[in-house]
């Protein structure tokens, strides 16, 4: 057993433990954090398989963005954990059946295609040594040539989802005190204030009589 195999078993063991704790942890925040740990172990296993682009993308997308939003929501919920745990054993047989079915289906697909005992080898591309081949570059070439239509369809589906999410949450609130910052920035002092020339000595009564009503201090125009 070499170092790589040892690392694989270590990462796999931690991955299984973390995945188990995701569903058994009492606190949902801990569950979310265990899910983050599981993602990390999966990324580490992918790096062992020399799929560094996939591994980094997993960390970047799921750990860096998706799970942050998950945590964001989970932290703000005040969940009564005991009520959630009721009926666990009642639903357990059905859930276990579905789980076993999924595992069997995945095994049927994966065992057929991946029944190989050798680790994947980096294939030397024309005129380049193995070390110079960039996983990311080769992946990009394939995605933008051979798999361009699936990629475009995936992109369109994501775009539709983005537009739908915005359309669902977009509403014009009448009571909103929304301010346009650019209007605020463009305001000059003369829009808000009026400088009034006043003679130095004059009684208040005479002054009020002599001037228009809006020039009296305290009744300036409100913008």
């Amino acid at each position: 057993m070499d170092v790589k195999t040892g690392l694989f078993y270590f990462f796999s063991a931690v991955l299984l433990f973390a995945a188990f704790r995701v569903i058994t942890a009492r606190n949902p925040v801990y569950s979310a954090l265990y899910l983050v740990l599981a993602f990390f172990q999966a990324a580490a296993i992918w790096i062992l398989l020399r799929a560094e682009f996939l591994a980094i993308a997993l960390v970047l997308v799921y750990v860096g963005a998706v799970m942050v939003l998950f945590l964001f929501v989970v932290m703000m919920l005040d969940i009564n954990v005991d009520s959630l745990r009721q009926g666990f054993w009642k639903h357990f047989p059905l859930a276990a059946g579905v789980g076993v079915l999924i595992v069997l289906e995945m095994a049927a697909v994966l065992m057929g295609g991946f029944r190989i005992s050798e680790e994947p080898k980096a294939v030397a591309v024309l005129g380049q040594s193995v070390e110079q081949v960039s996983n990311t570059r080769e992946l990009g070439k394939l995605v933008y040539t051979q798999y361009i239509y699936p990629l475009e369809i995936a992109a369109v589906i994501l775009l539709v989802a983005i537009i739908a999410a915005i359309a669902l949450t977009l509403r014009q609130r009448k009571d909103s005190k929304h301010i346009d910052p650019s209007v605020q920035v463009r305001v000059r002092s003369k829009d808000r204030m009026e400088v009034v020339k006043m003679p130095a000595t004059q009684s208040f009564a005479a002054r009020d009589a002599a001037m228009p009503a809006e020039a009296i201090p305290g009744t300036e125009k409100q913008p």
Binding site: V3, L33, V36, E52, V63, F72
Partner: protein, 360 residues
């Protein structure tokens, strides 16, 4: 010289396990320790430099009591913080409360594994170096969220919520800046990105600094700099800490070294984003002008000087601008920066297809 030390160590013991397994691990640890000492030393003295610059801006003297010109002030601060008690609130989540600061400082230091300090001078010269950096720095937000939540205090929690929204938002604009730079240099490798900036019409005339990425990608450079201010939660984007409203945000319940870890992470991140700005836009270790004196100065000094200038710019910005209002921070990130970077991405992409393409 580095290779000689490596070979010397490898020949130290003749056993097979030493040369193949133990020595590479020890060698990697030595290199990691060296880089970490460099980073932590820079972090320590940035605190002093920041206080000095802020003082000069405000026509004060700054720290000048401990050691000559206050040079021992960071050491005194570190000693004080290390000897302080770490107080844990009674209702805090015990485990996560202590994990939080570690989660903050860990990615800030782990990111330095792929940063090159010279043409062949890096702990790991990854092909996907920039991608790795993005992945590692995107984990930065976890420490803030965990510590904010586990403190069981509403100030800390508000700080954590603000931090998660702000850092995730500005990461998108920052990611697009990376994409534009990756596109023009046709590589994710940081050394290649720097090497690509040394070519071009101006570089042939000896005016290196005009062929660096900052000039053709000026809007992207500006967006990157402002986004990195927001990513590191610096003024004017420091509503995360917002001491006027939420005391100190996620750090409010922390004391002693656990608090110092947040500060360490902040300054290590400032150095990291400044170094990235230098590598991507300011030509990394390339000298600004192709002349005998400038090329004689070693590359790592140029890299250090440029990075130091950007770190100082961070401090200058801190002493100049007032804090943004939160809705304006979000507006700037989503409605200004993301459209600007998207449009410039298309413009640069079109530019590269024309005969006037300068990046080949």
């Amino acid at each position: 010289m580095i290779d000689e030390i490596f070979n010397f160590g490898q020949g130290l013991l003749s056993a097979g396990w030493w040369a193949s397994l133990a020595w590479p691990v020890i060698w990697a640890l030595i290199k990691v320790t060296l880089v970490l000492m460099l980073v932590l030393g820079a972090v320590t003295y940035t605190t002093l430099w920041e206080r000095k610059v802020l003082a000069w801006v405000q026509i004060r003297l700054g720290p000048n009591r401990v050691g000559p010109w206050g040079l021992l002030q960071p050491i005194a601060d570190a000693l004080k913080l290390m000897t302080k008690e770490i107080v844990r609130p009674a209702a805090a989540e015990k485990l996560l409360f202590y994990v939080g600061p570690v989660m903050t400082v860990m990615p800030a230091l782990a990111a330095w594994a792929v940063v090159p300090f010279g043409p062949d001078l890096a702990l790991a010269n990854l092909n996907a170096g920039l991608l790795f950096l993005m992945a590692i720095t995107s984990m930065e937000v976890y420490g803030v969220i965990i510590s904010g939540w586990s403190s069981n205090s509403k100030y800390a929690f508000l700080g954590a919520l603000r931090a998660s929204a702000q850092m995730v938002s500005y990461e998108i604009a920052m990611g697009f800046c990376f994409v534009v730079v990756i596109m023009v240099s046709a590589s994710l490798n940081l050394s290649d990105i720097v090497a690509g900036q040394g070519r071009g019409q101006f570089a042939q005339m000896g005016l290196n600094f005009l062929s660096w990425n900052w000039l053709p990608l000026l809007p992207i450079f500006v967006v990157y700099f402002v986004s990195s201010l927001a990513e590191t939660n610096r003024i004017p984007f420091d509503v995360v800490e917002g001491e006027a409203e939420i005391v100190a945000g996620h750090m409010v319940e922390y004391s002693g070294m656990s608090w110092a870890m947040f500060q360490m992470a902040e300054y290590a991140n400032i150095w990291l984003v400044s170094l990235l700005a230098t590598l991507m836009f300011l030509g990394g270790w390339l000298p600004p002008i192709e002349s005998a004196v400038f090329t004689w100065i070693p590359g790592w000094i140029w890299l250090g000087l440029k990075t130091f200038a950007i770190v100082t710019l961070f401090i200058w910005v801190r002493s100049t601008f007032p804090r943004f209002r939160y809705d304006q921070i979000m507006r700037l990130g989503w409605k200004v920066f993301i459209p600007v970077t998207l449009v410039w991405l298309v413009v640069v992409g079109g530019w590269m297809q024309t005969p006037w393409n300068i990046w080949n």
